[in-house]
Symmetry: C3
Subunit: 209 residues, 3 copies
């Protein structure tokens, strides 16, 4: 098994997990099945899509391989059916979501480097891939994006993507770069949840507006 | 008259109707005339623009033919003037909007097929063209997109685009494909309004978030 | 000093000022430092990015020159530190923001003309560059975009971009086109703030929705 295939499997697990968080968010807003599908899809592929549109990297992966979109739609609708069980699976779910965050951040950086862009662009695109699915989900649900004010999430994405890019820049073996950055991102996110770590908050109040 | 010209006329009626729904939505939020213009434009051309950006299909039609944009801006501003009459035209308005939904869904699928993409991408792009103008309108107005929780709208778009794509795949005459799918989408939407049909709703509640 | 370098300097002042308004908006919503960075970046480069994506004009400037993105992130984080002073700098801030609005509107129109598009597309792209950073900021903060209902802002952008395009169409000297349109936009915006000028508001109420 090559490391690209391994990443591909993790990526697939990640988009399915993200589709399910999207479907649950739609359910919290009492959306219908069409809304569930759209929010599920936007959450799963929104980050990668924004990355590729910003890079001008066409065709988009889900347009070239539409079976992924069908899998995402299927996962969103299955979520509606299994939702009553979700309550008991919160821990499993958060774990898969943490894995997805790390995988997306690494893949975003990896793809950007492969297109010939520099390290700082790769880190930015890793973060966009990692977190913007959730941002678009929350915008569609008319909420302030959760990752802008809840526990460490975006910072985990920055650390993960930076770690991967630095290791790649120093010609580290592909499996090691991948393993170390995924492990770092995954464990950092789990620790953040466990100990409620969060980034410092900025509170600004003025009467002007 | 060729069937492409016929579609073009329906498309123009559709974007004008969508611009007017955008302008009215802006009015419900007490926006100024600049907001009315922007929301009107985004509603009328947002869906098609998103489709073409996702497909990497440049130049965008309203950039190539900016007279359409001027017509949309004009329609948005006229809506402000004739708004007091709108109350009495609700039925006409819903009818034109239903036509617009069917036309946009068919055109989105048609253009995507013409660019050489497969049937499933064509259906997805038909739906994006059909419904995302309204999604962007509601995001700009800080509302949960109406089509995610009100009566059958997105599903009508899926059915319409699928019907058109299937007919085209089976080498049906262009006029027949067009006529049948438009008629199906249009009547399905009117029936959904008349009988308050809606897609099943998903309600999920957890204390976790 | 060439007029392109002069514009470049004003543009840099503009993106820094916009990043700071984004960071303050994030602070009003009690976001964390990650949210501050994202909202700061989106406010500063969102308008220009949307313009280039709509025009299919790749690579994006902040991807080609990522040092600008670093400067924006730095400005966003510095804003958090100096926020207590901001109260006393409101007037300075509004002045720089007014300059930014004029500069962005002119640059957006200028770049679009340079790509070979016609005058009406150039005006539209000037307005998108001028105002959409603020629109994206407000969407990320879950607010109805301020510029859709507060004092003259979008109209100033339309006037500024139109003035520049008309002067360029009539072969006016580059420095004069630039100076006149910047001065017009800047002073119009300051007058609008000073005298609370606003565009007419559209209020529409119906029981239908």
């Amino acid at each position: 098994m090559q490391e690209t295939q391994f990443v591909m499997v993790l990526w697939f697990v990640g988009i399915i997990a993200e589709a399910m968080t999207g479907a649950l968010a739609a359910g919290r807003k009492r959306m219908d099945l069409f809304g569930v599908m759209i929010v599920g899809c936007a959450t799963a592929i929104g980050g990668g899509t924004l990355r590729d549109v910003l890079l001008g990297n066409y065709p988009l992966i889900w347009i070239q391989h539409s079976q992924f979109l069908l899998a995402i739609i299927f996962a969103s609708l299955v979520t509606v059916v299994v939702a009553p069980l979700m309550r008991y699976l919160t821990r499993l779910f958060l774990t898969i979501d943490a894995l997805g965050l790390a995988v997306f951040s690494v893949i975003g950086a990896q793809k950007t480097l492969a297109l010939g862009f520099g390290p700082s662009v790769a880190i930015v695109m890793g973060v966009i891939t990692g977190v913007f699915g959730g941002v678009i989900r929350d915008i569609l649900c008319n909420e302030i994006p959760l990752i802008f004010h809840k526990e460490l999430y975006g910072i985990v994405s920055i650390v993960t993507a930076s770690c991967y890019v630095i290791l790649q820049m120093t010609d580290t073996n592909a499996w090691i770069s991948l393993g170390v950055s995924l492990w770092l991102g995954f464990s950092l996110r789990l620790l953040a949840i466990r100990f409620s770590w969060s980034a410092p908050t900025f509170y600004y109040f003025d009467k002007a507006q």
